[in-house]
């Protein structure tokens, strides 16, 4: 993929897979970088239907990620009928074509925010930042975090 700029920085020293070529459509030189195709992407959507069609946060690059990845697991705040998947400026539609599995997971973006569903929880994020400095406390944090839901998304 072509990218403007970059040449002249130290990226080209550490990324030998970045190539500079003569722009075939101009007189300038341009950098090429290899496309990234993740093996698996975990994406949290606002709503999804049971086939994998979903509407997700358009402020993020989640739709791009879904289309670039080899396997996509979508979790969603709500599982709805296909007819209820409405897009807006805030929500992008991603086709089931790109999605391998769907999980109902209300609160799945917490402690970060999720569109109009909920805001970020600053105190929990600070707690995480603090715990992350100590391996044993991080283990406790993750243990507690992974057990916060039961029965497919019911928050304890």
């Amino acid at each position: 993929m072509p990218v403007r700029g970059v040449v002249g920085s130290d990226y080209t020293k550490i990324r030998t897979d970045f190539k500079t070529i003569k722009n075939p459509y101009g007189d300038d030189e341009i950098l090429l970088v290899p496309a990234i195709s993740p093996d698996v992407s975990l994406i949290h959507a606002f709503r999804a239907d049971r086939y994998g069609n979903c509407v997700l946060n358009s402020a993020l690059d989640d739709a791009l990620l879904a289309r670039a990845s080899n396997k996509v697991i979508v979790s969603a705040e709500e599982i709805v009928e296909t007819s209820e998947l409405k897009t807006s400026q805030r929500g992008n539609f991603v086709s089931r074509v790109h999605v391998s599995a769907v999980v109902c997971l209300p609160g799945g973006a917490a402690p970060t925010s999720c569109g109009t569903y909920y805001r970020e929880k600053a105190d929990v994020l600070l707690e995480y930042l603090d715990a992350a400095k100590h391996p044993e406390r991080l283990t406790d944090y993750l243990q507690e975090f992974s057990l916060r839901c039961r029965n497919g998304g019911e928050l304890l």
Binding site: V3, R4, G5, V6, V7, G8, S9, D10, Y11, I14, N23, G26, D28, E29, I30, S58, A59, L60, D61, D62, A63, L64, Q89, R90, N92, A122
Partner: protein, 247 residues
């Protein structure tokens, strides 16, 4: 640092300096972790640049995109932004920035977050302002450990944009078009040319047009910053909004 009682904060001064650079109708884009540039952009919009387009990453109100940062960076690569704001853990005398590592890249003393889009934006945004909230000999250094984004590039590369100004709590620096090196344009009230030089790790010549004292924020600028700008910033940077503005 000389202690002088000022009636404004460092953040308010830097935001006002940024706002004064923006002309009405220009497109101003603000990236992540940039509360001071966001305040400056909104101050300009609220005062002399009502027709300017302002984009702020992380904001709902100032982010009219529907394809995430893909759409934002594509616009930037088309040369559609007049202003963007970058910073660095280190900045050298040419205005190169380091967001990668302190020390050797493969065995760093400190690993930094990385450059995100800066290695493209510095080239493609017409006027890039470097802002830095600390001005010390450790941050303004002769040689940086890693060039994340370069102030100059090979002539064969298409580059419509580059460094406009460097803004710090102590000073405003500008690039000499001939030498490509940073020069002292103005120093903040309460500091001095000597203090700025003592806190800069490379030799800093005077701007050829002369060095002046920075004009402090005017009452009208402060009123807007502490009113509508603070309110708007609070939805993006609540902690910053609570601390950066004087009541």
């Amino acid at each position: 640092m000389t202690t002088v009682a000022l009636h404004y904060t460092t953040e308010e001064l830097m935001a006002a300096l940024i706002a004064r650079e923006i002309r009405n109708g220009e497109t101003v884009a603000v990236g992540t972790f940039s509360p001071i540039p966001a305040s400056g952009a909104l101050l300009a919009k609220a005062s002399h640049a009502p027709d300017s387009e302002v984009f702020i990453m992380g904001s709902r109100d100032w982010w009219p995109f529907s394809e995430g940062s893909l759409e934002f960076f594509s616009l930037a690569q088309r040369g559609r932004f007049d202003f963007f704001f970058l910073s660095g853990a280190q900045i050298d005398r040419q205005g190169n920035i380091n967001l990668h590592a302190i020390g050797n890249y493969s065995r760093p003393k400190v690993r930094l977050p990385g450059g995100a889009g800066s290695a493209m934006l510095y080239y493609m945004v017409k006027k890039v302002i470097l802002f830095k909230t600390d001005h010390t000999v450790k941050s303004f250094v002769e040689t940086i450990d890693f060039i994340t984004s370069a102030a100059s590039s090979p002539p064969a590369l298409y580059r419509p944009g580059g460094l406009h100004l460097v803004i710090t709590p102590l000073a405003v620096l500008v690039k000499n078009a001939g030498s490509g090196l940073l020069e002292l344009l103005s120093f903040s009230p309460g500091t001095s040319v000597e203090e700025v030089r003592a806190n800069t790790g490379f030799s800093l010549p005077d701007f050829s047009g002369g060095v002046t004292e920075t004009t402090p924020p005017a009452p009208e600028e402060l009123a807007l910053l502490r009113g509508p700008v603070r309110e708007s910033i609070a939805s993006i940077y609540p902690r910053f909004a609570g601390q950066a503005f004087k009541s």
